[in-house]
């Protein structure tokens, strides 16, 4: 498929987008539950139960999407690697070769184990150790994506640096995206269940998420510098290659997300804190929800761009 002069492998881009978005949302939602929702809602048991139920439902959906898109990705990738059609790749043994003899196949098998452990933990997550094990599995599931991509194939010592940066980038993107979706669920739960301490609960959750967001953005910036240095390598690579131009589109979306997050942090959150309940409090909480939804849409656009970037030649290899 040709799109504005860029040759696109449509099915793989779509599958990768869904897989990255589902995996990131899953890990981010569990991070949010552990460091934002549980501490913030300790005093409001009813709301805590509702938010917990909604986050678990979200994670179950993401687990299903992640498995389905992961299987589709494996089949599409096997077909691309072997040069055979999907049915031929299944029948010829290419799938077995990919699973047993390539790094991509090995990583996908390990990730399948992590997602199955996560599913078991979700089913029995009344106990704190099981919850932590589930969170750990989701983080491993996310970090392992780095070994399927460019970072996993960068040779020499630089490869270790690239893998570290990519893993941190994935974790930070997950914390932000999954946290945003979960924050919307939390604010919706507090809005629909009138609790006396609603304003304090919302404010506490927003502040905790804001701290998580700042750490995420800082990590994205740091790891992004390393990835950009390795994959683009020069100013010329930005404008002279398709990879560079698509990357600039990603950066543009990222900057808009940071701008919206800045409005939330320095405009809406302080007003929510000063509102003291009533209509003003509902107004600012509604504003935060709306902006979080905008950020979520932008985050999924970023995942689509990442899905596309993965199919393009990095600028550094073309320019240097």
């Amino acid at each position: 498929m040709d799109w504005f002069g860029v040759e696109i492998d449509g099915p793989i881009v779509v599958v990768r987008t869904i897989h990255f978005a589902a995996t990131a949302t899953m890990a981010g939602a569990l991070m949010f539950r552990a460091v934002v929702a549980e501490p913030s809602l300790r005093s409001a048991e009813q709301v805590d139960l509702i938010v917990d139920r909604r986050i678990r439902a979200l994670v179950w959906i993401c687990v299903a999407l992640s498995i389905a898109s992961g299987v589709a990705w494996l089949l599409l990738q096997t077909s691309a690697m072997s040069g055979e059609t999907y049915s031929q790749a299944l029948m010829s043994g290419a799938l077995v070769i990919v699973l047993n003899e390539t790094q991509f196949g090995l990583v996908m098998k390990i990730r399948l184990v992590f997602v199955l452990v996560l599913a078991v933990c979700l089913a029995y997550d009344r106990f704190p150790p099981v919850r932590w094990l589930g969170l750990g599995s989701s983080l491993c599931l996310t970090v392992a994506i780095a070994w399927t991509g460019h970072a996993g194939s960068t040779p020499y010592q630089l490869g270790y640096l690239h893998l570290t940066a990519d893993a941190l980038h994935l974790l930070a993107a997950s914390a932000w995206t999954g946290g945003l979706v979960s924050l919307v669920l939390l604010l919706a739960a507090t809005a629909s269940h009138q609790v006396e301490t609603r304003a304090a609960l919302e404010l506490d959750a927003v502040r905790r998420f804001s701290s998580l967001g700042i750490v995420s953005v800082a990590t994205l910036v740091g790891s992004g510098i390393v990835n950009g240095w390795i994959l683009v390598g020069s100013f010329r690579g930005l404008g002279a290659t398709t990879y560079g131009r698509v990357l600039m589109l990603k950066v543009a979306i990222f900057l808009i997300m940071v701008s919206v997050a800045t409005v939330n942090r320095f405009f809406l959150a302080p007003r929510l804190a000063l509102s003291g309940g009533g209509d003003a409090q509902r107004k600012w909480a509604h504003g935060l929800r709306r902006n979080a939804l905008v950020e979520i849409v932008l985050a999924f656009l970023v995942f689509a761009v990442v899905g596309l970037l993965g199919t393009l030649h990095p600028a550094a290899h073309l320019v240097n």
């Binding site: 690697m81 072997s82 390539t102 399927t148 980038h169 240095w229 950066v251 900057l255 990442v306 993965g310």
Partner: protein
């Protein structure tokens, strides 16, 4: 703000937001070197790529000046390095054709020649 400053800021912003991405293996260099001339037939050809390779889907063939295939079949892969042993092929222009799959799952292919003889 000056134009140059804007360009630098824009570039920095782009670098900040690069994400998990995938690449393709390009030929970095080879031994014998691409297009070069060697006096005696080499015992093997080694190619270095910009990415680590998957042995299961990477191959290379070498033909001599007479068009006969002189590589010994299955290549050896170590990281980003691909080697194949050669039988003696005499003087002439050697053609190297490679098809590799990088660890990040992308296939690339290419070819080059080198000369053997005085």
């Amino acid at each position: 703000m000056k134009h140059a400053t804007l360009v630098r800021l824009g570039t920095l912003a782009v670098l900040l937001a690069s994400g998990p991405a995938q690449a393709h293996a390009f030929l970095d260099h080879s031994e014998p070197k691409v297009g070069n001339k060697v006096t005696a037939p080499p015992r093997e050809v080694t190619l270095w790529f910009t990415q680590k390779l998957e042995p299961a889907f990477s191959r290379v063939t070498v033909t001599n000046g007479a068009g006969e295939r002189i590589d010994n079949g299955k290549p050896r892969v170590s990281g980003n390095q691909l080697s194949v042993s050669l039988r003696s092929g005499g003087a002439g222009t050697y053609h190297v054709n490679w098809h590799v799959l990088s660890v990040d799952t992308h296939s690339t292919e290419g070819n080059f020649t080198f000369q053997v003889g005085q």
